[in-house]
Amino acid sequence: MSALMPTHSMPADDMDDSPLDRGRWAVADCWTMVGQEFAHLVRQPSTFAWQLGFPIVTVLLFVYVFGSAMDVSGQGAGAGYVDFAMPGMFAMTMAFGFMNTAFPVALAKEKGFIDRLRSMPMASSAVVTGRGVADLLHATVDLTILVVIALVLGWRSGGSLAATVSAFLLLLWLRLALIFVGIWIGLGVKNTEAAGNLFALAFPFGMVSSVFTPPDLMPGWLGAIAAWNPVSSTATAIRDLFESPSVASGFWIEDHALAGAVIWPAIITAIFLPLAVRRFQRLSR
């Protein structure tokens, strides 16, 4: 036993109370939390595989099992389904991403990890911002892997480089909005088991949309719900940007998908960012 008092390694940081210093620490602490997330992926890369397993298996099912029966382009069953389904898979992966936020947040809360961080002199905002930045970077890596798979399956973007990049920015914009939903849910659920059950909620949210099937092929009422699903706006908007073939839509929102893909996430953020912040602050009640 030695070195209880590490005088040599104690900086005089009692000076770090100015707003500028606090801002710097907020960024530094956020970055440390992001580093923690990426250390996880390096130490346990199977996490990536598990999280991407579902969208990949689903898209293979749809492309090779159901897709051959679907006429999404008006050119006969199965024609152009890969070009239709791949953007759908990108959007669905972003949509289900909120569980990848909610689960670790619920785990950190359940394990007392968030409490430990809150009892430390770090910027407490970093607990949330670190999660958000890490998840966005994580989503970028996810998309990169999915694009490679899509390219192998024969998908190509028909749009310009600018349009293609915009499409991926729209996907991350949706993911960003859902980070706040994920944090709100993660801080609110009783335990990780409850967080795991979210899949029951996520599944219809992801599926009742234009992700794998045009809403026009669904019964009217369901089609309307699917068309107005925020995930549909993003999926349809990026299809347009990739210039994928699609059937004419009878829904107003489908004809304004680009606006929807911008506005929906903004609305979700406007609602759930304050809710998530409020829930975080309420941890001290």
């Binding site: 070195a3 209880l4 390694s9 009692d14 394990k111 990890f113 409490d115 809150r118 009892s119 002199p121």
Partner: protein, 323 residues
Amino acid sequence: MAESGTAILADGLSKRYGSTWALDGLELAVPYGIVYGLLGPNGAGKTTAVRILTTLTRLDKGRALVAGFDVARQPRQVRRHIGLTGQHMSIDELLSARQNLEMFGKLFHIGRRAARRRADELLEQFGLADVATKAPKTFSGGMKRRLDLAASMIRAPKVLFLDEPTTGLDPAGRREVWQAIVDLAAQGTTVMLTTHYLDEADRLCSRIGVIDHGRNVVEDTPEGLKRRIGNERLEAVAADPADLPALAELLTKVGRGTGEAIVNNAALTVTVAVADGVLALTDAATELRARGIAIADLGLRRPTLDEAFLQLTSAQEAKEATA
């Protein structure tokens, strides 16, 4: 290393959840350099007290100073001077032990290089140097808790809070963690720990505050507390309810002036406090045989913590009633 002044000062600490007061006017004055035990049954308010003192939970009434700073108004200063190990293993199970300590070092704002050096010092100090690169998910409970303790010691806090540090550990793990706490105390760290194990408080603490229903019941040294609770008791279980009066008379006699034996008609037991347990036990056995009273059981009982609380809290309530 002990500083002058008070490490923890709480005045009328109160916290309400819904309509119940989890803390109801708790008073604490803990000097530097001691291990202070907050002892109480589940739901007594121990964890709530620690959460307020470590700035995790807002108080509703009262005032608390930790390391000289007000927990409500100067939480950032308080956080610089405390360490906290909670009831859970609040470490990252996927990162290695060293990565954990380096991460916490950075978040404690001691700088990247100092964080690395401090991690090595702490791994050595807490006997984890051999498993520095392993993930805590492969550790025993005792090792995990020691890593958790190490993470709380990064800045050599003025006050270390341990909320039920050995809950959920096997006996070997408990002993490991006890030793780590004893070592920290020997080096002058001020520790406040909560526990519902009387033996744990007895072993580690130099002062013990018993609380119940969010209020102070009694505060004393472990020796003083044991004197208040009373020593061993002799308990006899009657084979026939008709023998209870005779048993009571007999046990009062072998108790040698410690007080009247207490009869529990429902359980068929008769109990008496005794000064010398073995002497009383042999006396009672001899007397019983001489008188020909049949019994179902006879034995020495140490007061359980539940009984101790009942005794201490009922004494407290009686005192409040007469006040």
